[in-house]
Assembly symmetry: C2
Homo-oligomer: 291 residues x 2
């Protein structure tokens, strides 16, 4: 017996519009209109190009101009012409502006902490928030090529290892696996892709090249909160594209039968099962694909 899904979604919508909506209005406590606060926050977040901010916040150019003027009069920002194109303007925080921006940040952070602290299982709550935020913003997930030693890449890899340890009967120990050398997953030999949803890394895949015409796909991982959105397929397609760019003709990969979703994906996307081609103790199934 399940409760009507539509009722449950609408209950969620009501809850967030009343409660999270209050967050917006809490910004009004600092004597500035919501519009001005939003512009100040965008600048504080590192946006400087006026046109970009206007576009992001969906503001009319007249309105934007006036909001900038009011922030300038308050001494929070200064604007100057863009040196590359003097028609455009860039805005940056003054010292006062920076501290005002941090006051807004502190407000948000305190709210977030309070919300989590009231729950006795904050990890559950965060998981649920990740699922929903990722799903709501699914059209804004971007794939970025990163150094596998970058913070976001390392986060994905550590989550990946943690998941293998949970799913493999005998656990997982990276040092026993064939851990690729970082340089083999950076151009020109290979590549490492991270899927980012609104700043949070939620998936990755590595293309481990050797300089020759063959390469391996390694470390395909999608965060539990991002499953069901077709992200693994998107990561694989991007990895194949990178391989083509690097003139790679043959892709191989190894996997484990404890990860059936992965095997299904490979079979559905043109990969063929082949004989074992390495001695990785954690691999028991092997695939290849010609490009």
């Amino acid at each position: 017996m399940t409760y009507d899904p539509v009722i449950r979604v609408r209950r969620f919508n009501r809850a967030v519009t009343t409660e999270v909506g209050a967050l917006d209005t809490s910004f009004l406590g600092r004597g500035r209109s919501l519009g001005a606060a939003r512009v100040l926050n965008s600048i504080g977040q590192g946006q400087s190009d006026v046109a970009v901010i206007r576009d992001y916040l969906g503001l009319d150019s007249g309105l934007m101009s006036r909001l900038l003027r009011s922030l300038e009069e308050e001494g929070l920002i200064e604007t100057l012409p863009n040196p590359q194109d003097a028609r455009r303007r860039v805005a940056k925080l003054t010292e006062t502006g920076r501290s005002e921006f941090h006051a807004y940040e502190a407000l948000s952070n305190t709210r977030a902490k309070t919300f989590l602290a009231r729950h006795s299982k904050p990890e559950e709550l965060l998981r649920a928030m990740d699922i929903i935020a990722t799903s709501l913003r699914r059209d804004h997930i971007v794939l970025e090529e990163k150094d596998p030693r970058h913070k976001d890449a390392r986060y994905c890899l550590s989550e990946y290892y943690g998941e293998l340890a949970r799913r493999f009967e005998k656990g997982f120990e990276v040092s026993l696996s064939r851990d690729p050398n970082a340089r083999d997953m950076i151009r020109p030999r290979g590549a490492f892709l991270v899927a980012i949803s609104d700043g949070l890394p939620i998936g990755c895949v590595g293309l481990k090249g050797s300089g020759g015409e063959a390469a391996e796909i390694k470390r395909l991982w999608v965060a539990p909160s991002a499953r069901g959105l077709g992200l693994a397929k998107r990561l694989m397609t991007a990895a194949e594209l990178a391989a083509r760019e690097l003139s790679i003709k043959l892709l191989r990969l190894d996997t484990n039968s404890a990860l059936p979703e992965a095997q299904q994906l490979y079979l559905r996307t043109g990969w063929n099962e082949i004989e074992r081609f390495n001695d990785d103790p954690y691999a028991d199934t092997f695939f290849e694909k010609r490009l």
Copy 2:
């Protein structure tokens, strides 16, 4: 390695304010201001007392009056004095108003359905939404005494049985358990309490009386999405209060060691373990509490 919780909460806030916020503005497509749409919706949901709606939506009395007038001019509602108190007014939908209200409902329902349909694991998404909505609105959870045959009670019980079936090694079959007679959980013999969060039943407890001075606590259940909020304790306290009201002096209950959270709760709240007092095949631990 976990990502900064505060960043994750704030990412969630951004996602819902941009995406769910768009829901609010989508109501503007019907040529009415958001304020008027909200009033119309409140009336459609069954609120008729003008003061109650005003209070719920947090509107100024002047503004409310004007919004009602504009809806009246459109022929969507009619207002008349409250027969009990002619200072107060009640509002109700006209035939036109009803169909306009249903148009708004259809908009919301379609949005909810579309959102779920885009996900390949809607059940996961709903679970996450329940967790968050319940947590956000935790201060608005109400306990209501209901007939155990009521829809909401039956929903809780079926979820409870489903959970026992999953958690007990040998499963669970209601017919084998000592299923209480509904009448024993209705006043004056007993009571049945359901916890409701914004319309969704999320927990229950039964007080099974016999007419005498002893009674049993049965069917204590809290929805997975509502765990961590202290709801079980609140339900037990309410059940004890009901027992006192019914002049019951001794409470007993049976439970199973596969439900350790429950046992911990009983031990923390003044219950003492006693000898087996019934032959329920699913019970292996027994408690009592003197009131």
